[in-house]
């Protein structure tokens, strides 16, 4: 018959052990727990989730974003020529994955729809174990996915999203945006518009009827009215309208001498092409040449719009013709891989992936609170946009903005945008308080 006996020495040992365990800091214990934060990588690899529009109005951008992500993964894993890893001022990344783990990825199709984008992000988080979600070529999508990421405690590195809301009223602690926004487009474009088109103009806006369109219309309206321009009308058009004729004909008789197209992607290609078909570029109103302005455009759109984009002013986040070390390194890697230069969407997505990986390396962990802290207030250079700050107050990158014009004398099929001015960072920096919003908590969450 056995008896449970407790010696005096055994009791002392057990008591001491319990004391040590209780006295240990909570974070020490939490760090040792597998489900401490959502999708903590436990094996030899880490999975990133690339959520891009593969169909829908912004499919062109989506395809290019995916190319850039794949290239970024290659470079992070030490394959290829390293691209911007060679020019990035932070030297934490060594080309051996992230924190020694090989980078893998899963992809999703946002279909340029908020519900589809949330569903695919959720799938990548819950089923594929993605530790970070990135992508999106629409602000509606970015805001929706960013909200989901905040709820699940997964960092969201936004791709192409230009609405003020993404880092304004809808900003989130877990969301970060490298791309510029509509407010910055207005700040950059204003002086150039005044200089090139004069201060007495009447503008007519056609605006894509969703989050991004509204904020861009508001920002550009504020800027142009500040210059002394009169806003004749601002008309909302449904996303993916296709035929814009019924919205374009009223412009002809409105007395406006500038048409501002707050459209992007397929919508912009259609509305611009049709505006030119309606003779708007050959028109004179109020004794001035009629002008069309596209506040946000990219080379991919210029390609779709063909001849019609020539001479038209707008802003862009980045263009492959830039000659700084970061841009040339990236264009070289991307061009060698795919046979053509990258778009602005590709550049922002590539940079976002590297920035996330770098922040993990610098934080020494994948734990989101520490990675968020490493990104907030981070200053860097060598990524193609000059000296850049990831502003802590709203998670918006502050960097130079390009004012561009459709190239009248293109030297190749890709040479479609001519850089009119690189507007320096301090001229497009604004007070983050103007858009309100609240970043929310950075607490790690299990999933």
């Amino acid at each position: 018959m056995s008896r449970l006996t407790m010696t005096r020495r055994g009791l002392l040992k057990a008591g001491a052990a319990s004391g040590v365990a209780l006295a240990a800091p909570m974070s020490f214990i939490r760090g040792a727990h597998a489900a401490d934060f959502c999708n903590m990588p436990t094996g030899s690899s880490v999975t990133l989730g690339f959520n891009v529009p593969q169909t829908g109005a912004y499919a062109d951008e989506g395809a290019d974003e995916l190319r850039a992500y794949k290239l970024a993964v290659k470079h992070l894993n030490g394959e290829g020529d390293g691209g911007m890893l060679n020019t990035f001022t932070s030297k934490a990344l060594k080309g051996n994955g992230v924190l020694g783990k090989k980078v893998e990825y899963v992809t999703g199709d946002t279909q340029t729809k908020s519900d589809a984008a949330r569903a695919s992000a959720k799938r990548m988080i819950e089923k594929d174990g993605a530790i970070m979600i990135t992508g999106g070529s629409s602000s509606g999508v970015a805001v929706a996915v960013q909200g989901l990421c905040q709820e699940t405690g997964v960092i969201f590195m936004a791709g192409l999203t230009h609405s003020n809301d993404t880092t304004g009223k809808d900003k989130k602690r877990y969301g970060f945006r490298h791309f510029f926004n509509a407010y910055q487009s207005g700040l950059a474009l204003g002086p150039i518009l005044a200089d090139q088109l004069g201060k007495e103009r009447s503008a007519y806006h056609l605006t894509a009827d969703y989050n991004w369109g509204w904020t861009q219309e508001e920002s550009i309206k504020n800027t142009t009215e500040g210059l002394g321009w009169n806003t004749v009308n601002a008309v909302r058009t449904p996303l993916g309208a296709g035929d814009f004729s019924q919205y374009l004909t009223p412009v002809l008789n409105s007395g406006a001498d500038v048409l501002i197209l707050n459209h992007y992607g397929k919508d912009m290609v259609n509305s611009l092409t049709q505006a030119v078909q309606f003779g708007m570029r050959a028109k004179q109103v109020n004794g001035k040449d009629f002008e069309i302005v596209v506040p946000l455009f990219s080379r991919l759109m210029a390609q779709g719009a063909g001849e019609n984009i020539k001479g038209i002013l707008g802003t862009t986040n980045w263009n492959w013709s830039l000659q700084d070390a970061g841009s040339t390194a990236f264009v070289k890697s991307f061009g060698q891989e795919y046979g053509f230069p990258p778009s602005q969407a590709a550049q922002t997505c590539y940079v976002q992936t590297l920035l996330y990986a770098d922040a993990c390396e610098r934080a020494g962990t994948f734990a989101p609170p520490q990675v968020i802290a490493a990104l907030e207030g981070f200053e860097f250079d060598g990524m193609g946009n000059g000296k850049t700050l990831y502003r802590a107050a709203d998670h918006q990158c502050m960097k130079d903005v390009l004012v561009v014009r459709g190239n009248e004398n293109a030297t190749s099929q890709f040479d479609l945008l001519e850089v009119v001015k690189i507007v320096p960072r301090d001229q497009v920096t604004y007070d983050p308080a103007i858009f309100g919003g609240d970043l929310g908590p950075a607490d790690a969450k299990a999933c």
């Binding site: 593969q54 169909t55 829908g56 499919a59 062109d60 395809a63 009308n233 008309v235 449904p238 296709g242 035929d243 004729s245 019924q246 919205y247 004909t249 009223p250 002809l252 008789n253 397929k266 290609v269 259609n270 092409t273 049709q274 078909q277 309606f278 003779g279 050959a282 028109k283 779709g304 719009a305 063909g306 492959w320 013709s321 040339t328 264009v331 070289k332 890697s333 991307f334 061009g335 060698q336 046979g339 230069p341 190749s412 099929q413």
Partner: protein, 341 residues
């Protein structure tokens, strides 16, 4: 006044496209009794005939210029379409007129597609309920869409109108009205083209013996069959003609709207509303309703109207459809007995 006139032109233009698609839909319904949800896909396939023909013509001769390098270190490519390299200015002109020339390609291709679709699939569903027909044709439309997406990608592929009609016409000056009334040449061409095709289909049905037999078959196919006429074969040809009409509407629409795999679906729903408003099985009803709804949609998007009823431009067609069906359940020109048994 100028604005109203321009919106009227827009309406005619949109109406032309609606009417052409609805005409084919109602022709198939009237003859074969099939509700063909793949009809929008035929419109899209027509547009892709133009795209394919243009791709074929633009097949490029690539010469590497080793003296110049791209930003990524490879030799600069100098691309010239073969047709220009071989035929010089004549080749350039052919490329310039690729959209209208592709009509010649689209007619046999669409006829073949239409006939094989009818013989291969649709004919097995003649005696089945309308719900089965809708399901199978809708499924077919999705398959066709996905095939096109696979080969051509998801993005729209712009096609340009010939240079001579790529600008806009100063209609105001012609009519002695304001200079602000300008309208794109190609849209005028499209309206003229749709009127021509609609006229040709009506003339075929009205003034040819073949058309007369088809019309008789639409009324009473059993009696026509008893007279020793193989009405089924004629209906197959009618299906082919409907496919050609939808296809040609698609070809000519490409300079207005760069085609993508989904363009058929975008038009299909509207075209069904047009057919229902016009009256199921009524050809003239489809044309009338096509133009009527196109014009109403354009007027509804005028700023004066949207400022009073925001969003009315998006729902006007459906609103009118509801009102017409409430007051005239058979549509504008619907016959008694169609889909009522």
């Amino acid at each position: 006044m100028d604005a109203i006139f321009l919106q009227f032109l827009n309406g005619l233009d949109k109406g032309g496209a609606y009417a052409l698609i609805a005409l084919g839909l109602t022709l198939v319904f009237g003859t074969l009794g099939v509700v063909n949800f793949a009809h929008g896909a035929l419109f899209m396939l027509g547009a892709f005939c133009a795209v394919t023909f243009n791709k074929f013509l633009s097949y490029e001769l690539v010469v590497l210029d080793e003296t110049k390098k791209t930003a990524w270190g490879t030799a600069v490519e100098i691309r010239t379409p073969y047709i220009e390299a071989w035929f010089g200015d004549f080749g350039t002109q052919i490329l310039n007129y690729s959209v209208p020339i592709s009509i010649l390609v689209a007619i046999p291709v669409m006829l073949l597609i239409g006939v094989s679709m009818e013989r291969g699939l649709i004919k097995h569903f003649y005696k089945r309920p309308h719900a089965d027909q809708i399901l199978v044709t809708f499924g077919l439309a999705i398959v066709i869409q996905e095939v096109i997406k696979h080969y051509f990608g998801a993005n729209p592929i712009p096609q340009s109108a010939p240079d001579i009609v790529s600008g806009s016409a100063n209609i105001g000056a012609w009519l002695g009205l304001s200079d602000n009334i300008v309208y794109p040449w190609w849209r005028l061409v499209y309206f003229g083209f749709s009127a021509l095709i609609i006229g040709a289909v009506f003339a075929f049905l009205q003034f040819t013996t073949y058309g007369m037999v088809v019309r008789a078959g639409m009324r009473d196919s059993e009696t026509v069959g008893m007279l020793g006429i193989n009405i089924e074969r004629r209906f197959t040809v009618v299906f082919g003609i409907a496919a050609v009409v939808a296809g040609l509407a698609g070809v000519m629409y490409t300079p207005i709207l760069p085609p993508d795999f989904h363009m058929g679906m975008d038009f299909l729903v509207l075209s069904f509303v047009v057919v229902v408003v016009g009256g199921m099985g009524s050809l003239s009803g489809a044309v009338l309703a096509g133009f009527l709804l196109g014009i109403l949609q354009s007027f509804a998007s005028m700023n004066e109207i949207t400022s009073i009823f925001p969003g009315i431009d998006q729902i006007i067609i459906y609103l009118v459809a509801v009102v017409i069906l409430l007051t005239m359940p058979r549509g504008l020109m619907g016959r008694e007995g169609v889909m009522e048994e």
